[in-house]
Symmetry: C2
């Protein structure tokens, strides 16, 4: 791979994350506007978004069809929902430039990893990825709200990935502002993300679901606001992620229900030191997580 | 009541909230250090905290016994846990200055309201209150982290409260920086707070309880961090609040379990529009809460 500064980089899907990646490439001096030999392209079905992004100087050129863009790209960020992504790769496989490096941002990795391990053209490299940054408000209009600084990024490399491409992508991710980059298997990713991301969204949703009085916010002191901020869901995306990772998510919900039930029983009993002991263990575990962060 | 600037104000319990109230009285020009006729006093069992607060200019004088302080105070903030508060009022009832206005900050109001409605000296006024601001890190050392600006404050007035004292306290609370001040009954407070505060803490605790791997934070993208920030619990305080408000909290936990179970079933079924519809309703309700905030 050429240095990123000399690459033609293509963003497929200029939504929240595609937009945020484009902005980071621009603003962090990797592909600054009007300088160097590198170019920043994007394709999207929404021509207005492309025009706005071009006017704002976020991209050099926009495409409503992917093929004319992909044929020039050395590096491609696929910023699509999981199901759209699979279809896109199936339909556009022939359009990629030989030798190009492709990565994605989908929040679930099992399906895409299996498909790419098997079906990817031999002259392409595809490294599945998941930037752990976002915003409860979606779309290109909110891309500027995405702050990558210090955030986690997960890569779930395929057996066939070239080690030098993996190092290249890892370096680029750090230059985009991300903190820890963790390499793991697609299965482990899906298992852990079911806990840290999907379960949290289900909990936030359930919390809003069980209280109809919107004026309850008068009684909010921060906890409720923190726990439910993410309940302003991108519904089609989350419904898809919940369904795609169904088995892992259901198992995590049940684990959580077990812990909640145990706490409920300790509160109901209302005596002895057991509640304090359990809460103290929880407090210490959460504090240990802070240190590792 | 005299203007607050001319009052002797006493803080009982110079912890997180007592310290934060003292700092707000100082820094917002109500009782600035070394000016005016008003004085800011505090009593606490910890002489080191009192000495530090005096050295830092946060208070004018510290007391390890309450009586010598209370006899001079026109206005008293009781910043104690609920059970300590009830005992304090029982043991120190004779020590308050005649005509003084007393308020508290306890997170549950049923017990203290009933006790004060019945047992308070006729020449005193006690307005129960609950500032909806705090920090998961307790103690005077963290008082500076408490930001009152725009936060909610709940008052649960007694039948016997003087209307002019209620207006006086409400005005002072706004001057401390708080936004909305809501007056409601003790029962309604306890019912709503069981949802916005205690249930949220139980959920955060359960989420940490069900995952032993502290390295899971590598897979965190903000949601997990937001949902579990409050799990670094002040254990004795929260155990007490959970127990004191047991009936309301258990009923809220069960409501939440019902909503979680409904979402779980929709995810398990994995087809139809029902999951999307329910998530869309949740998204809209959460957005409506934002607008009212």
């Amino acid at each position: 791979m050429k240095p990123a500064e000399q690459c033609t980089v293509g963003i497929v899907g200029l939504g929240l994350m595609g937009g945020a990646i484009a902005m980071a490439l621009r603003n962090r001096g990797i592909l600054p506007a009007g300088r160097g030999s590198g170019r920043l392209l994007a394709c999207d079905t929404d021509a207005e978004v492309l025009a706005a992004a071009r006017t704002a100087g976020v991209i050099d050129e926009g495409f409503t069809e992917a093929e004319p863009m992909l044929k020039d790209c050395d590096l491609v960020f696929l910023c699509l929902n999981p199901s759209t992504l699979l279809r896109f790769m199936k339909d556009r496989m022939a359009a990629f430039k030989s030798g190009s490096l492709i990565t994605d941002i989908a929040g679930i990795k099992g399906g895409i990893s299996a498909a790419m391990e098997q079906d990817l053209r031999q002259d392409l490299d595809f490294i599945p990825g998941h930037p752990m940054a976002g915003s409860e408000r979606g779309g290109f209009a909110n891309a500027g709200r995405c702050d990558f600084r210090g955030k986690n990024y997960i890569l779930t490399p395929l057996k066939r990935n070239k080690p030098e491409n993996l190092e290249y992508l890892r370096g680029l991710i750090h230059r985009l502002g991300f903190g820890r980059v963790t390499c793991t298997g697609a299965e482990e990713h899906d298992r852990k993300i079911a806990f840290t991301s999907q379960l949290c969204h289900v909990i936030a949703a359930a919390l809003i679901d069980c209280e109809a009085d919107t004026d309850i916010t008068r009684f909010g002191g921060g906890s409720f606001e923190d726990l439910t901020r993410i309940a302003v869901l991108n519904v089609p995306m989350w419904a898809e992620l919940f369904r795609e990772n169904r088995a892992e998510l259901l198992s995590r919900i049940e684990q959580f229900e077990g812990s909640l039930d145990a706490l409920k029983r300790l509160i109901a009993e209302g005596q002895g030191e057991d509640l304090e002991e359990r809460l103290a263990r929880i407090r210490d575990r959460r504090a240990a997580m802070n240190q590792e962060n």
